[in-house]
Symmetry: C2
Subunit: 207 residues, 2 copies
Amino acid sequence: MAAGPTAGRVTRRRVRTRANLLDAAFEVFAAKGFGRVSIEEVCDAAGYSRGAFYSNFDSLDELFFALYRQRADMIAEQVATALASDGPGLDVPAAVDRVTEVLLLDRDWLLVKTDFLVHAARDPEVARTLLEHRARLRRAVADRLARARGHTALPAVLGSIDGAAHAVVAAYDGVTTQLLLDRDVDHARTWLGQLLTALLTDGSTRH
Amino acid sequence: MAAGPTAGRVTRRRVRTRANLLDAAFEVFAAKGFGRVSIEEVCDAAGYSRGAFYSNFDSLDELFFALYRQRADMIAEQVATALASDGPGLDVPAAVDRVTEVLLLDRDWLLVKTDFLVHAARDPEVARTLLEHRARLRRAVADRLARARGHTALPAVLGSIDGAAHAVVAAYDGVTTQLLLDRDVDHARTWLGQLLTALLTDGSTRH
DNA sequence: GGCGTTGGATGCATGAATGTATCGGATACA
DNA sequence: TGTATCCGATACATTCATGCATCCAACGCC
């Protein structure tokens, strides 16, 4: 952890600069990628000097980690609230629309998240954080599916509701990859909708 | 492009060192990630000095690009042959097994591929190369599905055979992400099998 | 096997990023 | 308003990677 006062004295100024550094870092990381960003670039973008940085963080890695947590928490909350509302029936298209609005909101977040994935893939400690985030998303989905049980059928191949939730996250990951490459957000949204429909609804209409 | 002889004279030695550099680069990139690797590290791993590197490549980026093309071609070919064989009927579990054997062969390739994705996401030129690779995979899958038409039903939500092929690749991407995080190859294989089954076969058995 | 060409090794100069130590100004609290 | 503390700026030393220019050895071709 960074230095910080031993306990009290949460200086107003400090939280502001910390937030500014995180915001600037998000921009810069999204634009150039974690591996190609220097500490100084972040500081320049935020309008501070390196002294400010080292006063708040120990390394770029730590900043990156903090940044991910901050944004991931935000997203997870938004998804949860987007799914928590309305009754027991599951209107798949409507629910999908609401969720994709959040999950595929901006490409910048996907870029940063994928950078973080690459990071996590080589550090089990970091991986745990990312897995937790995914678990939160899954839980939100599973909760929603559980309330819809009996109203809507699920494919048996996926096993439990938990399996279905896993599938939803996998579909999200798959569409993310495609979106990162073709930059077509609208197409990604409809495509994710189709995928989820294929996975979650009765697919008896076949050809 | 790197210097290289003006035209002829493809020195035997040259191709060998180039191949050695590429192999070493694969190891090093997989282990540390593209963003954290220096030219000298690659040279050390390959047993050459930087002079050899600059004689064969102009930059780390170019080496990385060449490395990706090399491996991607290999994989695409393997997948195509794994799917081209046997008759018109589609035995999903068997086909899936054969393909996952290739696609989820080693984690190192997935690591490098994801690094490359991050790279491509910020450079449309590079993205095109990756999209071509994915298109080749899709085509192999679509060809296989086309031959199975009439023998097996496909979900209508996915639209055409091409849509189904897209879905297969998306599932692959989704499982890749999960595998990078939990490092459980066996689980990833069975999980990919379930997903593909859910996407491609008649899901009339529901609960 | 000799000779001209090519490939790779070595040494050096340059630029950039990092981390730290120190200093001046802002901030919170009495 | 005064003062002790904290925060961020500046300057510096150090390390590291890069790219080039030069040199020796291996190679291909006759």
